[in-house]
């Protein structure tokens, strides 16, 4: 991969912001992993930490999701979007100081939010459980970052935009809109009764579909051709895929309310739109996999690309499974079971995080000029893959068991239904432990590259000076 010098100046301008967001993202990833492990421990032994009110199962579960989505997801989105957009715009990142300032506020807001949850101020709205006092700080810091990202995009050299830019920009802009809608409907002009649930569930699911998902898709659209050195196969479909997601995803997310105390049209339209989602899923997977399979050897040999393709395959599979599970006949069995965990982890872990890992491994050496040891990357890849597969398999089979047994009214709840699911909780506990270990390796390596020890840096500087 030859680099010309404009790319190098762009990378250098992105260095500060990228390093800041990435290292915070890593910290949150570890915190989320710790929470995930604690929650899994509580499901295998209800007495674990039970006398401590800070750590009830419900609080830990929710903190994990929030640390993962806003902490890891948010920071990773900032890091990846800034770098990819700067590269595609051929424009330097400006205002790094403001980016970092806003990033600090964002991270502080989440920290206080999580402490608030643990201290017993959870709000009960899906993905908005953090006390509402931190919402303004989150929104303002987010808007500052959005503004600076748009500045990068506006100063682009090439007027023509391509798929990665659409997806990333849309995600960046959708988040504040979703956030404001939810804030308005839940706090400013609060809805009554189950309208609250419709709105908070719509928000929580849309975060994944309209924020995490497009960024990961955008990153894949950028990385696959960049690493393989070829254009996306059937690229003309991408625009269709993009607008399908934009138009369908906001509708499809409410099918989880099937059968519940809401007007019937709400879950019904959700189901119809979920089925229609096969189109954008097909487009994305054709684009990615048709391109990648032309040169499988290269995919296998490039670690960043291996992560990305794992992510895109996972996206395809999980989305199709999601479509099947939204069919009313299947939903009747799987609704309310731990299949929900399967969907969540598949999407945020198997898909989003894996692509972000790939993006980081691709970008980090270019930005810092230092490489992560190949053995560490490879270890990370295999432990992550194994952990994710173990986790998802346990939730999938466990969830089906859960649903099928629950559907037989003669079986007592605790002693038959839940005790049959318990072995799967044990497996997820090991999977989370493995993943935590894998993430630790990732974060330690990233940190070592971002903050090298002073002697190593001296060494590199000397070498650079000599070169």
């Amino acid at each position: 991969m030859s680099e010309d010098s404009p790319d190098k100046t762009i990378d250098r301008s992105a260095r500060l912001a990228f390093s800041f967001f990435l290292s915070s993202a890593g910290l949150w990833l570890l915190i989320a992993a710790l929470f995930a492990y604690l929650a899994a421990c509580k499901l295998t032994d209800p007495f674990f930490l039970s006398s401590c009110e800070f750590f009830t199962y419900g609080k830990i579960k929710v903190s994990q999701a929030n640390a993962f989505i806003y902490g890891w997801g948010g920071n990773a989105i900032f890091a990846v979007s800034i770098w990819i957009l700067a590269r595609l715009s051929q424009a330097e990142v400006r205002g790094s100081v403001f980016l970092i300032f806003a990033g600090v506020i964002w991270n502080l807001a989440i920290t206080f939010g999580l402490l608030g949850i643990l201290d017993g101020h959870m709000s009960g709205h899906e993905m908005l459980e953090m006390p509402k006092e931190v919402w303004p700080a989150m929104l303002i810091s987010y808007l500052i970052i959005t503004f600076l990202i748009l500045v990068i995009h506006r100063s682009r050299q090439i007027k023509e935009t391509i798929a990665p830019q659409w997806f990333i920009l849309a995600a960046i802009l959708w988040f504040p809109a979703l956030f404001l809608i939810a804030w308005h409907g839940l706090e400013i002009n609060p809805a009554r009764g189950t309208l609250q649930t419709v709105l908070s569930m719509w928000f929580g699911q849309s975060l994944i579909w309209l924020w995490l998902t497009p960024v990961a898709l955008g990153a894949a659209y950028y990385l696959i051709p960049a690493i393989l050195g070829r254009t996306i196969d059937k690229y003309y479909l991408a625009i269709f895929g993009f607008w399908c997601i934009a138009a369908l995803a906001p509708w499809s997310v409410v099918h989880h309310l099937e059968g519940g105390p809401v007007p019937m049209w709400i879950p019904a339209i959700g189901t119809v739109m979920s089925i229609a989602m096969v189109f954008p899923i097909a487009v994305a997977s054709t684009n990615f996999h048709a391109t990648a399979f032309l040169d499988l050897g290269k995919v296998w040999n490039s670690l960043p690309l291996r992560f990305v393709i794992f992510g895109t395959l996972s996206y395809t599979v999980s989305s199709y499974i999601g479509v099947v599970f939204s069919l009313p006949a299947v939903a009747k069995i799987t609704q309310f079971t731990i299949i929900n965990e399967f969907h969540f982890n598949q999407r945020v872990y198997g898909f989003f995080s894996m692509i972000v890992f790939g993006a980081v491994y691709f970008a980090l050496p270019k930005i810092t000029g230092r490489e992560i040891p190949i053995s560490a990357k490879s270890f990370h890849f295999w432990t992550s893959t194994l952990g994710v597969l173990l986790l998802l398999l346990a939730y999938l089979i466990g969830g089906l068991t859960h649903g099928v047994l629950a559907g037989q009214p003669s079986l007592p709840w605790s002693s038959s239904v839940i005790s049959s699911v318990q072995p799967y909780f044990l497996i997820t506990k090991f999977a989370f432990l493995l993943l935590a270990f894998s993430q630790l390796v990732f974060v330690v390596n990233v940190w070592r590259v971002i903050f090298p020890n002073p002697f190593a840096k001296l060494f590199v500087d000397q070498k650079e000076a000599g070169a």
Binding site: P46, Y57, G58, G120, G193, T194, G260, P261, Q335
Partner: protein, 376 residues
Amino acid sequence: MNNLAKFSLGIFLTLGIAWLAFVVGARSQYGDLSPTSESLNEDGSVPVDADLYPFDLSGMAKQGAEEYAALGCVSCHTQQVRRVEAGFDVDRGWGKRPSAPRDYVLQEHVLLGNSRIGPDLANLGLRGYTDQWLHQHLFEPQTLFPSSLCPPSPFLYNEIKDPTPSDLEITSQDNTKDIRHIRPLVRANRLIAYLQSLKQDYELPEVSFVEDDEVVEETELTEEVASAQVSSAPKWLQDQIDAGKEVYMKAAAGGGMCFTCHQVNGEGLAGQFPPLAGSDWVLGDKDRLIKISMYGLMGEIEVNGVKYNNVMAPPGIPPGSLTDDQIANVLTYIRNDWGNSASAVTSDEVATVRKSLNGRAPMQMFTAAELSPDVK
């Protein structure tokens, strides 16, 4: 696609249409539902004198809902009975009918939930559990169901070393642990009041009970549950509550006359007489209650976060004349009516406090500052 303004317009438009449907549309469709009667007149009007459902939660249950939300019980328990064609909920005896949007219109926290590691709780209040049973379950579910995954909440209870008869005795189902005695904190009482208030036991014009043989199964379930209960209110406690109610209601020599100020329903009068129903004073520290029942209370106090500044002369006719027994009974009564549920007060406890106050001038009313503020 190349013009940022047009692009933004496009993506906000697609989002906006969904918002119009789910937020604006759904709101105008059923955002103004209000309580109604079980059935309507032919012209669609509500019959006069009919009870309106759902009922509003008591103040105490509302506080309990906050505890429930804050502890995150919703991550394992749903509160919604699905329609018959969409799930097995009615078959499992989790409700007599599917839940309807109207059931939730008065709730501040709508905790439908979407995960069922534990059973649905939309109708927990109909399963016939006593408060004691629920307290034991909240304290440590594993004493009732050894393999239960429901997390224990010992932090909502004080473990008592030298128990009085009113404290809750905890024995485990399989006798593997020593007998323990616990006393609930106010928060536990609130949570139980909330759990007991969860019931959709009325019909609405839009939904009626599901009629079929499943109902039989449901009654069997409740019986099974009833036999699993540790104890229902024992006779001595009921006697004490009855005697206490007499003191509360008697406005002649030897009575307490409490109802004239705090009202028969225990709700007090806004701005003047603080409520006893759901009051953190009543459910809290017993010593404090005993002291004010002997000597009265004056100055600014705070009940459930609301300030009052008035005078309660030493209760009784003549003032300050209530005996140890009477105080024990009336306090036990106010701690166990109107949805309150807290441990009984014994006359021994009253006698101990009286002794400790030996030397205090008669009729010298307490102030809030003088009473230890630790709300137990």
